[in-house]
């Protein structure tokens, strides 16, 4: 009976996902075609080709832009589902290939930054909760203020100047990719660290008000030990909730960092594609990001059920 309910729930979920992705793809298609700027003229200009009525008409026909919108959409959708995402007119390479080699770079940057932020946020947030107003609390607050006040590109340039120019401890642009990722990951981590630390700290301090914590203290546990044993789990829930939307920008949200550090990631590629009105790239991206966010929220939901079985019930 329970299996039947689960199966029915899964089918319903799948149905909703398909509807949602269909709506997203139609919306993406419609909005991109409504945006000012003729991609054909831009493409010809970008490639230093003459913009004449003949060249415009020829390229429009080649891309299928001379057909009715519905036909264009269906043609694109059929190709997308069969793995033919089209060709980027800006780079003249298959879009799927571009995504395939750029997304891993952005993911390494985004996941690396979030992981590092998480690793630092937990001890820092813990120390801040153990002694509110203490040194760790002030550091966490300072990081939050710094990252809200200072643009990422400026901090990135300062980091390059300090570590590559002045100290010379790494090659920020010409070293192997693993070495080139060190500073960008630090920057990304810094920008997530403040908020994650504050969230974790706030959850711990909220848990300190619960009877469970007071009982533990009455039994003689020190404040740090009581917080770790009886409040930490709640803190992790808070971090999970805060991290879920953060994963959204892992694909496409680190453009500034990628530009400054010259990383061949998907975010920089997207920004350039937007400037060039590279429709097919942007359409593909919107659908990919929709699928990605669905996957992230589903994974977060499942993880929440594992951490707290009451959610499932």
């Amino acid at each position: 009976m329970l299996d039947g309910e689960r199966r029915s729930g899964a089918v319903g979920w799948l149905f909703r996902v398909v509807i949602l992705l269909a709506v997203v793809s139609v919306a993406a298609f419609a909005v991109l075609h409504a945006v000012p700027g003729d991609p054909v003229i831009i493409a010809l200009s970008v490639q230093n080709l003459p913009v004449t009525p003949e060249t415009v008409a020829a390229l429009r026909a080649e891309w299928g832009l001379d057909r009715p919108l519905a036909a264009q959409y269906l043609h694109w959708l059929a190709g997308f589902l069969s793995g033919d995402w089209g060709v980027s007119f800006r780079t003249t390479r298959p879009i799927l290939e571009e995504f395939g080699r750029r997304v891993p770079v952005s993911m390494a940057l985004g996941f690396g930054g979030l992981a590092l932020a998480l690793v630092v946020a937990v001890p820092l947030g813990f120390a801040a909760a153990v002694r509110p107003g203490g040194l760790a609390d002030r550091v966490a607050r300072a990081v939050t203020v710094l990252t809200q006040a200072v643009p990422a590109f400026w901090l990135g340039l300062v980091a390059i100047w300090l570590f590559a120019v002045e100290l010379g401890v790494l090659q920020a642009f010409t070293g192997p990719l693993s070495e080139r990722l060190v500073l960008p990951i630090l920057i990304v981590a810094l920008y997530s660290l403040g908020s994650l630390t504050r969230v974790y700290r706030a959850e711990l301090l909220a848990a300190v008000e619960t009877p469970m914590y007071r009982t533990a203290r009455a039994k003689g546990l020190s404040r740090p030990a009581a917080i770790w044993r009886h409040c930490h789990r709640r803190g992790l829930f808070g971090l999970l909730a805060a991290l879920t939307p953060e994963f959204g920008w892992v694909i496409g949200g680190t453009a500034v960092t990628e530009v400054v550090f010259g990383l061949p990631g998907i975010s920089q590629f997207l920004v350039e594609s937007i400037g060039a009105r590279d429709y097919f790239v942007l359409q593909a991206y919107i659908v990919v990001i929709a699928v990605w966010m669905l996957a992230v929220f589903t994974a977060a939901d499942l993880l929440g059920r594992v951490l707290d079985p009451r959610v499932s019930r």
Partner: protein
């Protein structure tokens, strides 16, 4: 008991991770095994028939054509020996000693095949002479029949799409001093010396070309010792880099011109007197100051070309004011803006962010035109090609390489001939067109120079376009390339004289 210290251990672990990551890099000042070059552009494809790939491959020292343009702006033979007229067509004689990087000879058949394919697939290759028909005469001679008359075929063959290549199973091969070793589109290109180029092949280094999206990062990479050549440095970094004894920083005037289209379709700007007043009201010295470099334009072409104008374009606000007054534009209400029949003399002025220098010009031009009583609203427009094609502007700042193949006809025809596709100003002048017609019938360089100057004089009088500044670009080299000089705008950055200095 140790439980509370778990988070502290995590923190220590993170710090250790960071430390290892930071000190694990190579030693300071380590010399790269190859020459590393940073640029803000990179070939997007290795197929020269593909968009502007021919230009990029030539700039990277990989591609070559039958003809090229030398440092003094003259068209010179490269893979060809001569090109001679023959009835309505032309006969090209090839050099017999040139080979592709796979060792195969450059024959008339291969040249005809590659240029024929490019002419067929790339509209830019048809811009000057229309479709080109190639006929092989023998191993070293071929005939070219252009669809439209071409007075100087050598110039057409020096245009950037006309790169000669041979298709192989492993992709195209070229004849330049460097060959492609590996290619990561849009981010990195690794080159090695072409073993069949000349006897200096052993002296040439391998080259690693890296694309930078941010000019400040490019400057920092040079400063950090990661680059041997950084091309197109930002002006604001120059002073700092010049203080570094390990670096050589140079600036050079380029063949691009910064100009301003005046839309003659607009009622106000249909009056030549108003256009002349605008041209005279702009202090170009102030524009060069705004971008910390460059020269006042002498006309449509950079001063290095023989067909450039003789003198810097004039600045005379008093005459500009008089011209406006004679045209009936007077400030009757004392608001600082001239008016006529109740209408203020106000204009829209556009620039585009892809050329940041032009954006820097906006407030300067606005202030100077306001000084003679012309109100200006400024706009930064990203989709500038569409704006230009829609003719929905009064004044439009523009950057253009005006002699990409060393000949003045391309720009004068493509952008200003009556009814031409890129005639953004809507200029129509039978007198001007007659000069261009004469140029189409004239092959002698001196005569073409004279005609190009006549055409420019016509433009100076009619002012459909105001020529503003010939910009300077900046590059820096490490000690290893201290003697290497870049010229030819961004068309020939890596050449066959790229050698590493002896220690």
């Amino acid at each position: 008991m140790s439980v509370p210290f778990v988070p502290l251990r995590l923190g220590v672990g993170a710090a250790a991770l960071l430390t290892v990551a930071m000190v694990g890099g190579p030693a300071v000042g380590q010399q790269p095994a190859t020459v590393t070059v940073g640029k803000t552009f990179l070939a997007s494809s290795l197929d020269p028939a593909d968009g502007s790939a021919g230009w990029a491959l030539t700039s990277h020292g990989v591609g070559q054509g039958l003809f090229s343009v030398d440092r003094d702006g003259r068209v010179v033979p490269v893979l060809a020996e001569t090109v001679e007229p023959d009835g309505d067509g032309w006969i090209v004689r090839l050099r017999s000693d040139r080979r592709f990087s796979d060792g195969s000879p450059v024959t008339a058949a291969v040249v005809a095949q590659s240029l024929g394919r490019t002419s067929e697939t790339n509209p830019a290759a048809r811009a000057t002479g229309g479709a080109l028909a190639f006929t092989v005469i023998d191993d070293h001679r071929l005939r070219i029949d252009p669809e439209r008359p071409v007075p100087v075929m050598a110039s057409l063959l020096a245009e950037w799409p006309m790169v000669v290549y041979r298709q192989t199973d492993d992709g195209p091969v070229f004849t330049g001093p460097f060959q492609v070793a590996s290619f990561d589109s849009g981010s990195e290109l690794v080159l090695s010396p072409n073993p069949y180029y000349d006897e200096d092949v052993d002296r040439r280094p391998d080259v690693r070309l890296i694309r930078f999206s941010d000019a400040q990062s490019l400057a920092l990479a040079l400063e950090a010792g990661e680059l041997d050549l950084a091309f197109n440095l930002p002006v604001e970094a120059l002073a700092r880099l010049e203080d570094d004894e390990a670096l050589t920083v140079r600036s050079f005037p380029v063949a691009y011109q910064y100009m301003m289209w005046l839309n003659t379709r607009r009622t106000v700007l249909s009056d030549p007197a108003v256009r002349q007043a605008i041209d005279l009201a702009i202090d170009r010295e102030m524009l060069t100051a705004a971008i910390n470099g460059g020269e006042v334009a002498t006309g449509a072409f950079a001063s290095s070309f023989p067909f450039a104008g003789d003198a810097p374009r004039p600045f005379d606000q008093a005459t500009a004011g008089n011209l406006l007054e004679e045209a009936g534009w007077v400030d009757t209400d004392g608001d600082g803006i001239r008016d006529q029949d109740g209408e203020d003399l106000t204009l829209d002025l556009h620039a585009y962010p892809q050329r940041p220098d032009l954006v820097s010009f906006l407030p300067v031009v606005e202030a100077q035109l306001q000084a003679v009583g012309i109100g200006v609203s400024t706009f930064v427009t990203e989709a500038v090609s569409e704006l230009a094609q829609s003719h929905d502007f009064d004044l439009l700042l523009w950057a253009q390489h005006t002699a990409p193949a060393g000949d003045p006809a391309f720009f004068l025809n493509a952008f200003l001939r009556t009814g031409s596709g890129n005639n953004h100003a809507g200029y129509a002048s039978p007198d001007y067109d007659a000069v261009l017609d004469a140029m189409a019938e004239t092959a002698a360089p001196q005569d073409r120079t004279t005609l190009a100057r006549q055409a420019q004089d016509r433009l100076f009088a009619d002012v459909p376009v105001s020529f503003l500044v010939t910009p300077s670009w900046h590059y820096g080299t490490s000690d290893r390339l201290a003697g290497y000089e870049v010229w030819g705008s961004d068309y020939y950055i890596l050449r066959d004289d790229l050698f590493v200095a002896a220690d």
